[in-house]
C-alpha cells in the first residue's frame, strides 16, 4: 500500500512537470486507484503553493532595499 502511494506521488510529480513514460502511464491506469491520485494531487498542490510562499518570504527577508 505504501509502495503504491509513493508510486502515485511520483506519477503526480511527473504530471506537474508534464513528463511521463508510456510504461508508467499504463501501469497507473491499470493498477492505480483514482482516490489515491486525487489525494496525491491535492497534497502536491499544497506543497507547491507553500513552497512558492516560503520562497517569497525568504527573498523578502534576505533582499536588502537599496533605494
Amino acid at each position: 500500500m505504501i509502495g503504491r502511494c509513493f508510486k502515485a506521488l511520483a506519477s503526480v510529480i511527473c504530471a506537474f512537470i508534464g513528463v511521463q513514460s508510456a510504461r508508467n502511464w499504463r501501469y497507473d491506469s491499470e493498477r492505480g486507484s483514482a482516490t489515491v491520485f486525487v489525494i496525491a494531487g491535492i497534497l502536491m498542490t499544497i506543497i507547491f503553493l507553500a513552497g512558492i510562499y516560503g520562497l517569497v518570504q525568504v527573498v523578502m527577508i534576505y533582499v536588502q532595499y537599496s533605494g
Binding site: I17, G18, V19, Q20, S21, A22, V59, V63, Y65, S66, G67
Partner: protein, 364 residues
C-alpha cells in the same frame, strides 16, 4: 557627391537616429537605467534562445530534407530529453526572475523620501500638492488653441507644455502619491521609467531621484475622455538651491494672491483677466468662441445661466453640475479667476448683461 555625403552623414548623426529609436528609453535616473539594463539582459537571453532554437530547427529541416532521402524515425518517447527540455527552461526562468525581482523591489521602495507630492488626475489636467509645504496648484496644457486647430504652426513642444510644471529638486528622492478626482488617468514621464495609474479612491505610490536638472516631459497614458491627449506632464528638475528659492517664491505668490482677493477690480480688468481664464479652463468644451458643441457641450453665448441670475452662474462654476461633464472649479480657480471668468462670460462671447462681481463676493 556632396549631397550624397551630407545625406550619409545625416543618417549617422544622433538626431537622425533619435527619430528612428525603437528601443526602450534609457531614462535619466539610476532606477530607469536599472530597468533598461534588465530589459536588455532579458532581450539578449531571448535572442540567444531564439537563435539556438531556430538554428537547430532550420538546420534540421535543411540537412534532413526529403530530397536527400531522409526517412523519419518513429518513436514514442524519450524521458531523458523531455526532462532536459523541461528543466533547462525552468532554470532560465528562475535565473531571469532574480534580477527582475531585485529591480521590482527597487521600484516599489518608496521609503525615506525627501519630498512628498500628491499627484491628482483631473479631466483634463494634473494637480500637484506638496505635502510638506503649503503648495498646491494645477498644471494645465499651455499649447495655444490656434496650434491645435492648425491655424498656427506647431512648436517643438506641441501638446507637451504646461502653464505650471511640477518642480522637484535634483538628487533628492521624491515620492509621488498618485490618485484621481474623476476617471482613471495615468502619470508617465518616459525618462523616469515608471508609469503609474491614477485611480479614483486609490493611492498608488511611485518615486524618482533625478540627477541632472532639466525639463522632462510626459503624457497621460490612460484614455480618460475627450482631452486625454491634452493633459501633458512636465517636470522641471531644479538644483537644490534653485528649488528652495522656487518654494519660497510660491509661498510669496500665495500671500500676494490672498491680498488680491480682497482688492476691488474694475469691469474691464475682470474681463481682461477672464479671457485668459476662459481659454485655459472653459474653451476646451464650450469652445473659444463660446458656441459650445451642440448635443455635447452647451453654448455660453446666449446661455440662460450665463445671462441669467449671477448667483446661479457662479454656483455652476464653483460646484459644477453632477451627472454632466461640467466639473466643480472651486479647487482649480482662485476667487479672482472665478470673478473674472464670470464677468467675462456675461460681457463677452456675444453676451452683454452689463453686470460684474468682485472676487471678495465669491463664496467658495
Amino acid at each position: 557627391m556632396t549631397k550624397a555625403l551630407t545625406l550619409a552623414l545625416s543618417l549617422v548623426s544622433a538626431p537622425a537616429w533619435a527619430d528612428w529609436q525603437i528601443n526602450m528609453n534609457e531614462g535619466v535616473t539610476a532606477l530607469s537605467r536599472e530597468i533598461f539594463d534588465l530589459h536588455m539582459l532579458i532581450f539578449w537571453i531571448c535572442v540567444v534562445i531564439g537563435v539556438a532554437v531556430f538554428g537547430v530547427m532550420f538546420y534540421s529541416i535543411f540537412k534532413f530534407r526529403k530530397s536527400k532521402g531522409a526517412v523519419s524515425e518513429h518513436w514514442h518517447e524519450n524521458t531523458t530529453v523531455e526532462v532536459v527540455w523541461t528543466v533547462i527552461p525552468s532554470i532560465i526562468l528562475i535565473a531571469m526572475a532574480i534580477p527582475a525581482t531585485a529591480t521590482l523591489m527597487d521600484m516599489y521602495d518608496t521609503s525615506e523620501a525627501d519630498v512628498e507630492i500628491q499627484v491628482t488626475g483631473y479631466q483634463w489636467k494634473w494637480r500637484y500638492q506638496y505635502l510638506d509645504e503649503d503648495i498646491d496648484y494645477f498644471s494645465n496644457l499651455a499649447t495655444p488653441r490656434e496650434e491645435i486647430a492648425n491655424e498656427a504652426s506647431k512648436n517643438p513642444n506641441y501638446l507637451l507644455e504646461v502653464d505650471n510644471p511640477l518642480v522637484i529638486p535634483a538628487n533628492k528622492k521624491v515620492r509621488f502619491l498618485i490618485t484621481s478626482n474623476d476617471v482613471i488617468h495615468s502619470w508617465w514621464v518616459p525618462n523616469f521609467a515608471v508609469k503609474k495609474d491614477a485611480i479614483p479612491g486609490f493611492i498608488n505610490e511611485s518615486w524618482v531621484k533625478v540627477e541632472q536638472p532639466g525639463v522632462y516631459r510626459g503624457q497621460c497614458t490612460e484614455l480618460c475622455g475627450k482631452e486625454h491627449g491634452f493633459m501633458p506632464v512636465v517636470v522641471e528638475v531644479k538644483a537644490e538651491a534653485d528649488y528652495e528659492q522656487w518654494v519660497a517664491d510660491q509661498k510669496a505668490i500665495k500671500l500676494a494672491m490672498a491680498g488680491e482677493a480682497s482688492k476691488e477690480f474694475s469691469m474691464d480688468e475682470l474681463i481682461a483677466q477672464g479671457e485668459g481664464v476662459y481659454k485655459m479652463a472653459c474653451a476646451g468644451c464650450h469652445q473659444p468662441n463660446g458656441q459650445g458643441i451642440p448635443g455635447a457641450f452647451p453654448a455660453i453665448t446666449g446661455s440662460t445661466i450665463a445671462t441669467g441670475e449671477m448667483d446661479t452662474h457662479i454656483d455652476i462654476i464653483v460646484n459644477g453640475k453632477s451627472g454632466t461633464a461640467m466639473q466643480a472649479f472651486k479647487e482649480q480657480l482662485s476667487a479672482v479667476d472665478i470673478a473674472a471668468v464670470v464677468t467675462y462670460q456675461r460681457n463677452a462671447l456675444g453676451n452683454s448683461v452689463g453686470d460684474f462681481i468682485q472676487p471678495s463676493a465669491i463664496q467658495k
